[in-house]
Subunit: 350 residues, 2 copies
């Protein structure tokens, strides 16, 4: 069946850019998002205003679409599985399941031959202390799943007292990750079709500020071997999940050039925004092509570039960016520039 | 005042691509177009469903926008002038006036030092016969204005009988244009801001089929002098009209490399669609930047390319185009592929 209408769960900037890419291919989009006039709905054909997990809304979305995708990894797995019984959902629910749980994610990566930091599941105070002892008294304790009351993580260094550490993170399933003495961070954006065709963009080198991506630079300062290792990891991951769509994988780059996978996002990724400016086919169009059953486009990069995120008031410097030649500006149509809010990004071709 | 919302008169594919370019810059768009769910409205923030010249609809548009532009040159000059008393309208009404009347257009071009085919105003059968005599018995007789009952033009060759020729075209104001023995056709897309900043894309070489643009190829097979002459003509035209926005100018290329201006379009132009694939800033974004009072972007071309229009059933070959690497596909969201209807275009980077 030819795909004519794509349902997008989530109405933020990633949904917006997916909707625009779909429109360019003549495809219609319906966005499911509780916030009215969200960034994606402004450029989509239709919006269903409802919660992401609202069964009736999901039914209505499925009834009007030929395939469903999403712009974020917090779509409830149960909702995705329920949808999958009625309609194609890409990426598959399995990818959500793996990416929503840090333990499952690392286990899955390792099982597919992708190196991660050492880790231990921590389900009690006793297990925390045992795991810390194994890791020489240091590591990062994290909740396995996202969004547990905003309580995120706790760093332990040698000599720190771990007493009460399990309860402090909410007595929920946790994971202790060993420290990684990495040099820099890179990421790769890759896509896979239902038929198993895979295409990878060049790895980007990423710099974060306050826990948010600040810049992605192309090319990354890595050897050809390292770039090939990133591609190989992406290929293994995509095949292992029988994946359809675009994935973003972040890696730590070690001093010896080897890579340690940090995390995967089963969606278009902020560190791939540069592709809209420096490639023939952007990650957004690539994702739409994959989920719509169309052949993938070329991932070739015609220019070196630096993508810079505009967070909060950064957007006030827009005039400076617009005045620079060879800068592609992309704003998300958000009315208010709150601190920490992603307002847009710019890609300067070098 | 900072522009936040742009009104677009006309809801076809040009309006659609303008709306998408505006969204990328974080600007909102309202489309005025009588046909519901038109290509532009599918990606715009809002549509006013009304005739282009409906005074109430134009008032409503002006009340909600910061600036108004249009996607076609048939906007009634009176409507544009009425709007200009309330709100900035770019390109200016003067550009509409000139481009809607072949006689005024040629007079304006000549007055600004831009060479055209020889021409004579024809307002009677006597004037037709006198003009034909002057041009050696041959030329093309055209209505001065667009859309007179679809009666377009009449070619006269030596020995043809001109009797009844004036009445045959509707006894309306006509123009006789002398024949031009041109080699090929080129066009240039240029932009001007309110402050007089001008930027020109590289000239494209165009091939028409059945009176519709078929391909635009970059670079055109012309000398640097000819390219410079096209830029100079564009600069004169833009300055002469105190123009704001993007203009397209078509030229006949003579054997000696000189150019004869054929016509101008006060809008983004089909022969500039390649810019979205081969330039950092597309003609659509350039137009939005100009009318929104933002600085122009670079017109630099990073790749050679060929843009091919998809007319009617051409769109059925989409799978072939999608399967070719380095082809940027752009479809317009039109449901029905009628003969002669522009359904989309593809740009292959070379």
């Amino acid at each position: 069946m030819t795909v004519k209408t794509i349902g997008i769960i989530g109405g933020g900037q990633l949904g917006r850019m997916l909707a625009m890419a779909a429109a360019k291919l003549g495809l219609k989009t319906i966005v499911l998002e509780p916030q009215a006039d969200c960034p994606a709905a402004q450029v989509a054909n239709q919006q269903i205003i409802a919660d992401y997990a609202d069964p009736e809304a999901l039914d209505a979305l499925a009834a009007q679409c030929d395939v469903i995708t999403y712009e974020f990894e917090n779509v409830p797995v149960e909702a995705a599985l329920a949808l999958e019984r009625k309609i194609a959902v890409y990426p598959p629910a399995k990818a959500l399941e793996v990416s929503q749980d840090r333990l499952l994610e690392k286990q899955f990566l390792n099982a597919n031959g992708i190196v991660t930091a050492p880790f231990r599941a921590v389900d009690s105070q006793e297990e925390l202390e045992a795991a810390l002892a194994e890791f020489g008294g240091q590591g990062v304790l994290k909740t396995r799943r996202f969004g547990y009351d905003g309580k995120g993580q706790q760093v332990y260094r040698k000599g720190d007292n771990a007493a009460g550490g399990y309860a402090a993170l909410g007595s929920v399933p946790l994971i202790l990750e060993g420290f990684i003495a990495f040099e820099r961070e890179i990421s790769i954006i890759a896509a896979r079709t239902k038929d198993g065709e895979i295409a990878c963009y060049d790895p980007a080198e990423n710099v974060h500020r306050n826990g948010i991506l600040h810049t992605s630079t192309l090319p990354a300062t890595i050897t050809l071997e390292t770039a090939e290792a990133a591609r190989l990891a992406a290929t293994k991951l995509l095949s292992g999940l029988d994946y359809v769509g675009v994935v973003g994988i972040e890696f730590f780059l070690m001093q010896d050039g080897t890579l340690i996978a940090n995390e995967m996002a089963p969606r278009v990724h902020n560190s791939g925004h540069w592709t809209e400016a420096a490639c023939v086919i952007s990650q957004f169009e690539q994702h739409i092509r994959a989920v719509a059953g169309l052949p993938l486009g070329a991932c070739e990069r015609h220019s070196d570039c630096v993508m810079t995120n505009l967070i909060g008031d950064d957007v006030l410097e827009m005039d400076t960016w617009l005045a620079r030649p060879n800068v592609v500006v992309h704003l998300y149509g958000k009315a208010e520039a709150r601190p920490g809010r992603k307002m847009g990004h710019v890609t300067e071709l070098l």
